[in-house]
Symmetry: C2
Subunit: 365 residues, 2 copies
DNA sequence: CTGAAAGCGCTTACAG
DNA sequence: CTGAAAGCGCTTACAG
């Protein structure tokens, strides 16, 4: 196809076009423009002519052709479930990290959204050459389902619900975070602490609940089952659960503090409290978990537990690329040991501080 | 390569593998498995054998090879600037819409993040076959810069700062939204209305400011330049601007209402007011713009102007695909007329309602 | 230092 | 109804 015809058809210039313009073969052009290894094999004069021709024609190597030849698309896939039709804030933070990591490594990221995790074959269908590997965001997959996934693309998971064969799992020390947070609430003088917890069967829910119970035990505060109410990870879940709890327990039995399973839940909780005319933190302290953007957009801002979600996203990319370069591991392999990221208390205005001068008993002294 | 060797190398099965297993040519397999047009050209028995073989081998058409042959990757690119290292809430809403639209049309989406809009050649480098077209999110590009973009991939913009040659621009009726919002504030009895505005030179800032001024004029309220303070589109910008305004004007000169250029700015404004011990809406009403998630995570929730950001994201996908199928338009073409989406007032608790029974003068009666 | 050849895995006319 | 051939645009050995 002539250059003119190509322009008519609005096609991008090819290596052959560049070669022709520079009076060399497409191959020589390839070596100069894209070859890392053989970049010095070309004579300087030829080299310059090729580079000039490429610039003039605005040559860009076609990614599909290159991928076909090299078996690398330089694209990372991200599989995430959209709940309630919305990407949540947790994902936004992780995603920021993944994008950073990808950019640093010359990769781009493609998103695959799923209605739920029930259909593992949809995951398999993503591994068709569009991506080199896949990051699973908080997957609710069984080990069995993972075995049916193709083994020519590596997988890395963030906050997987259970160990997955051959899939590296990045998690954070949620139990510790919940423990530290509740211990902090106790240190502020609170003893009657309501926990709006997540759905059962979710590892995140369970770890946070266990951290709550351990902190109570450490302070010798007896566990009161009526102070645990099932909510969930969304704003709606938080506001509904809080409203129901208030209706049941009555306003006179207000807890001193509320530990919500995540920031979204805490936002809903704040909403329900505001509607009931209950002030935060004057009447009751509220805390969340995750330290997503939502924790800084509430007024008062939320005391919460910071998960290093961006760092985890970046790390997921690095691990994926490492696996890609190592070659396949095989889904018959045992789950690699998870990588656990530390968490950190983020103290903000939603928790009432003890009045100055008042001596507060150390919870675990 | 034999099937065994392929397994060893962890390669996916190819059309040739499927053909071999079914005793037909790769071509026949292609017609059955991927051919839309010629799906009935194959004899039923052959057909079944091919389908069975494909299932057994877990065949997936290689996307890179298919893209090379068809010139379609079935992937949409999204170009967005990350400010302050973070994707903002505006983008999250638009992105949700794009993902929905993409999923409905069998497309996936790839994100390209930019540090700023100064380097149009980076945009060009995305159009290398990885994507079929590009959606520009709030681009700050000159018409000149757009002319240097390749014309073998279509572009669609959301909230472009100026008309872009050959690029469809989706915008919303921001001026009208600001007018309606400020008229509403006036209808609630407010006359002294502070506007925390956006940076100059940004079309969004200017349209909102103009809407504000038109609403004042319609109610015969004289424009007071000391009631406009430059803030910006972020939480920090809002809180800084509000703090400075309070320091300058003094607490005795509090406005009756504050119209913030967007929700993020309003969150910052609420923060500054809370720190100063000023109650919302008892002491002052506050309103935002955009109706992002942040508008529902503040206490009290924000009165704001709803932009149909998700619908706009979905539409961007549809328009892009339409252009893709029509064939190229050429960057010499004049900017197509923009598509303007309607906006809608979202009334929430952050604006004080007039006491019941009190008669409020209609602002434009 | 340079080019002709083969191959990546698919699709699209074109023959039979 | 089915297959052999050519081509998409690149890279990777292999000759000269």
């Amino acid at each position: 196809m002539s250059r003119l015809a190509r322009i008519r058809a609005h096609r991008a210039a090819t290596l052959a076009d560049v070669g022709r313009a520079a009076g060399v073969s497409a191959m020589a052009a390839s070596a100069v423009l894209n070859g890392a290894r053989t970049s010095s094999r070309t004579a300087p004069g030829t080299r310059d002519r090729i580079i000039e021709a490429a610039a003039m024609l605005r040559y860009r190597a076609n990614a599909a052709a290159r991928a076909l030849a090299t078996r690398r698309m330089n694209t990372i896939g991200i599989a995430v479930v959209i709940e309630g039709g919305e990407l949540n804030q947790y994902f936004l933070e992780v995603f920021n990290g993944i994008l950073e990591g990808a950019a640093q490594n010359g990769q781009t990221a493609t998103i695959f959204t799923l209605p739920d995790w029930s259909d593992a074959s949809r995951l398999a269908s993503f591994c068709d050459g569009r991506i080199d590997g896949l990051i699973l965001i908080a997957p609710l997959l069984s080990a069995e389902a993972v075995k049916s996934l193709p083994d020519h693309a590596p997988f890395v998971a963030l906050h997987a619900n259970c160990p997955l064969p051959g899939v590296l799992n990045l998690e954070s020390d949620e139990g510790r975070g919940a423990f530290d947070l509740v211990r902090f609430l106790i240190a502020q003088g609170h003893r009657r602490i309501l926990h709006l917890c997540g759905p059962p069967g979710r590892i995140g829910s369970e770890r946070r609940l266990r951290g709550y119970r351990r902190a109570l035990a450490a302070a010798r505060i007896p566990f009161d089952p009526s102070l645990v109410a099932e909510a969930g990870f969304t704003i709606d879940a938080g506001s509904t659960a809080m409203r129901q709890w208030l209706a049941r327990a009555g306003r006179r039995n207000l807890p001193e503090a509320i530990f919500c399973v995540n920031d979204g839940c805490a936002v809903g909780c704040l909403e329900a409290l505001a509607q009931a005319g209950i002030r935060v933190p004057a009447d009751v302290s509220v805390a969340g978990f995750d330290d997503t953007l939502a924790a800084r957009t509430t007024v008062p801002q939320l005391t919460t537990v910071r998960q290093p979600l961006r760092a985890m996203g970046r790390r997921a990319v690095v691990e994926l690329l490492a696996r890609l370069n190592e070659g396949p591991i095989g889904s018959g392999a045992p789950p690699p040991p998870p990588t656990v990221f530390p968490v950190k208390l983020a103290v903000r205005a939603s928790v009432r501080m003890p009045p100055p001068g008042r001596v507060v008993a150390k919870p675990d002294a």
